[in-house]
């Protein structure tokens, strides 16, 4: 395989991995706080349509990304009020949020279908961004670099800071955290809002990085892949980064292998398409076999918090 083709594959792979990385990173923080939000797909679609609309209207993809983050967070607040304040079932509410986001984005996006957009391109000088070799480092949208920064930031927050410790405590044992005076509900609100913002940015990657258009259902199920990825990564940011790129690699290699012809084409494409899910099931099995505290889910995941006193 030539170096040019390798670089081309890497660039496509990075693009394919970035939206699921954002969304999964947000969901990781949400789940670490003990909340299971299955509305990722809905929040991604909300972010995608708002990101498109604001970029289209203002011409600034930066504003589009910020707006997408706020839109995703706003959508997540619906979930937060229902599950955290009203203590409703998180699974049902999350699914409802996905349905809501799908419908809302379709309605809101009506005015924007059939309109092209410019991609959110690399901000490095063209000598670097379009250089045949250096583009593998400099040729990406700013969102890609931002996703790496966020991986480090989330790791640092969860592992090295006091707020991160509180967040994990809330996710592992909400009653204990409550009894020593931590605001469980407030922490979870913050986590859910962060998750929504990240899902919104992940959604905005679709019109800004991958395919510069808005069309209903644009994310085509990537929100579910992001949910699977959190489990795959065993709730660890660095493993999540690796997992996102592994999922992206599988999808990208499928297309490059098919386009190249040759030996890979004997693998049925349905098998390629199911690989992320198969990998997730495999990891779940492995987790179950060698259960230890580092690889299992936050203990309070999905349970409503109802303080006794």
């Amino acid at each position: 395989m030539s170096i040019e083709l390798t670089i081309a594959i890497i660039i496509t792979l990075v693009g394919a991995s970035t939206p699921i990385l954002f969304a999964a990173l947000g969901e990781l923080v949400v789940e670490k706080s003990g909340v299971l939000n299955l509305g990722v797909e809905g929040m991604m679609l909300t972010g995608a349509v708002v990101g498109f609309a604001v970029t289209f209207e203002t011409g600034s993809p930066w504003l589009g990304v910020v707006a997408a983050a706020f839109a995703g967070a706003a959508a997540s607040m619906i979930f937060a009020v229902v599950t955290l304040t009203l203590s409703a079932n998180q699974v049902a509410t999350g699914l409802a949020l996905t349905i809501f986001g799908t419908g809302f984005s379709a309605l809101f996006g009506k005015a924007y279908t059939g309109k092209p957009l410019a991609l959110f391109r690399s901000v490095f000088p063209p000598e670097l961004a379009t250089h045949p070799y250096l583009k593998v480092i400099f040729g990406y949208s700013p969102l890609v670099y931002f996703s790496f920064i966020m991986v480090v930031a989330v790791w640092w927050l969860l592992r090295r800071t006091r707020p991160g410790l509180i967040l994990r405590a809330v996710g592992e044992n909400d009653l204990s955290a409550h009894s020593i005076g931590y605001p469980v509900i407030a922490v979870r609100y913050a986590a859910v809002a962060f998750g929504g913002a990240m899902a919104g940015i992940g959604g905005a990657c679709f019109p800004l990085v991958l395919t510069p258009q808005w069309v209903e259902g644009l994310t085509a199920g990537r929100g579910w892949i992001a949910l699977a990825l959190v489990v795959f990564a065993a709730w660890r940011p660095y493993r999540l980064l690796a997992g996102a790129y592994l999922f992206g690699l599988v999808g990208t290699m499928e297309l490059y292998a098919k386009a190249a012809g040759g030996p890979f084409r004997i693998l049925p494409s349905e098998l390629w398409a199911s690989m992320p899910y198969l990998a997730t099931i495999l990891v779940l099995v492995l987790i179950s076999i060698r259960r230890n505290s580092n690889t299992s889910a936050p203990a309070c995941l999905g349970k409503p918090f109802v303080p006794t006193s």
Binding site: L5, A8, I9, T12, G15, A16, P19, G103, A106, G109, K110, T113, G114, K115, P116, L119, F206, L210, T211, P212, Q213, V215, E216, G217, L218, T219, A220, G221, R222, G251, T252, L255, Y256, K258, A259, A260, G261, R265, S269, E270, A273
Partner: protein, 368 residues
């Protein structure tokens, strides 16, 4: 899923027709056919009319039909985002129970669900787009998109510099095999060494994956790209990468790729829907299978991009006219497939219906 009802609206053309119809009425007297004053028409779509492609085409056909027949005589219901699964059966049944006179299912995968429902409502007409089986109250209709592929394949064969074209397929169904083969055979007439790479994305709708498939193909030498999916994603990548170009599928997509959009295969369902709904109004509807092509005006070749050289346009037009007068056929022999089997001898033609029913094969030079 959303329900959209169109409000009755009398267009100028419809009003004129109404007048003409009223004038002709006394002459006709009583007819044996059960004529109807007004019909309710249901459309079941797999996506939404905003997809700029397949569903857009059907919705444009619906609007054309409403305009032709007059919204005072036709009321339409559009059900969007219906999955090709058991839910489709519920949708067909509900539309039938709501008193629709004719119901169109506009995707291949709706067929089996429609076949479950149709026998329960013998007085209601059902029509299955791109289907393969009829019932006494269920017809099928389709368009010969592959004739359009023959025209754009001609352009691809003449304009490609690398001699490698791509066909991004959705799901491996007969329509897609037919399209890929027609495209490739036409391109090979212009360039005997032409290669067509077929890549399936395993979905009718996943724009990001389509775009990535286009990237994978362009990175490996493809300079002409066609797609058998519903949106402009691949064309946008063609525009971004500055390759020679691609083609709109289902509708003109030049707004998305002004430079790369060479032409388009446009679905024009309007005349068929008009004829079909009119036959319900007249009481003359019967079980049928219609497969219209370029000659019927159901498949239209869009405007040619200005950058296409005049001789290429002339050749494309020659092929298009040849298809209309019958002198050119998409599957004229000799055709050899990828396994070296002769599919058609010199001078033979594989009939469209015959091809549809065949087990899938690809012509020599297709990499799939």
């Amino acid at each position: 899923m959303t329900l959209k009802n169109t409000r009755p609206m009398i267009s100028r053309r419809g009003a004129l027709k109404l007048g003409a119809g009223a004038a002709a009425l006394p002459l006709l007297g009583s007819r044996a056919f059960a004529q109807k004053e007004k019909v309710k028409v249901g459309f079941v779509l797999i996506g939404t009319p905003d997809d700029n492609g397949w569903n857009y085409g059907h919705d444009q056909g619906r609007l054309y039909m409403l305009d032709e027949l007059g919204a005072d005589r036709v009321e339409t219901t559009v059900v969007t985002n219906v999955e090709e699964g058991p839910d489709a059966e519920r949708v067909f049944r509900e539309l039938a129970q709501q008193g629709h006179d004719i119901i169109y299912g506009t995707s291949f995968g709706f067929g089996e669900y429609m076949m479950n429902v149709a026998p329960q409502f013998p007085d209601i007409k059902f029509e299955w787009a791109t289907g393969y089986t009829t019932l006494p109250n269920m017809s099928i209709y389709n368009a010969k998109f592959h004739e359009g592929r023959t025209v754009i394949g001609t352009i691809a064969g003449m304009m490609s510099e690398t001699g490698i074209g791509a066909y991004i397929g959705s799901i491996p169904v007969p329509e897609v095999f037919m399209g890929a083969n027609a495209f490739h055979l036409a391109a090979r007439k212009q360039n005997p060494d032409f290669i067509t790479k077929v890549v399936y994305v395993d979905s009718w709708f996943d724009p990001a994956k389509e775009a990535d498939a286009a990237r994978a193909l362009i990175d490996q030498g493809v300079d002409i790209i066609t797609q058998h999916t519903d949106g402009p994603a691949a064309l946008q990548v063609a525009e971004e990468r500055g390759i020679i170009g691609g083609f709109g599928q289902g509708a003109d997509m030049s707004a998305f790729a002004p430079n790369a959009h060479l032409s388009a295969i446009i679905d024009h369902w309007g005349p068929y829907y008009t004829k079909s709904v009119k036959s319900v109004l007249d009481g003359t509807w019967e079980e049928s299978s219609f497969w219209g092509g370029i000659a019927d005006g159901e498949v239209i070749i869009g405007d040619y991009n200005e950058k296409i050289p005049a001789d290429v346009v002339a050749e494309a037009e020659r092929v298009r006219k040849g298809i209309i007068d019958g002198s050119i056929h998409p599957y004229a022999g000799p055709i050899v497939d990828t396994n070296g089997n002769v599919q058609a001898e010199e001078g033979d033609i594989i009939d469209d219906g015959e091809f549809w029913a065949q087990e899938a094969w690809y012509a020599e030079g297709i990499e799939a």
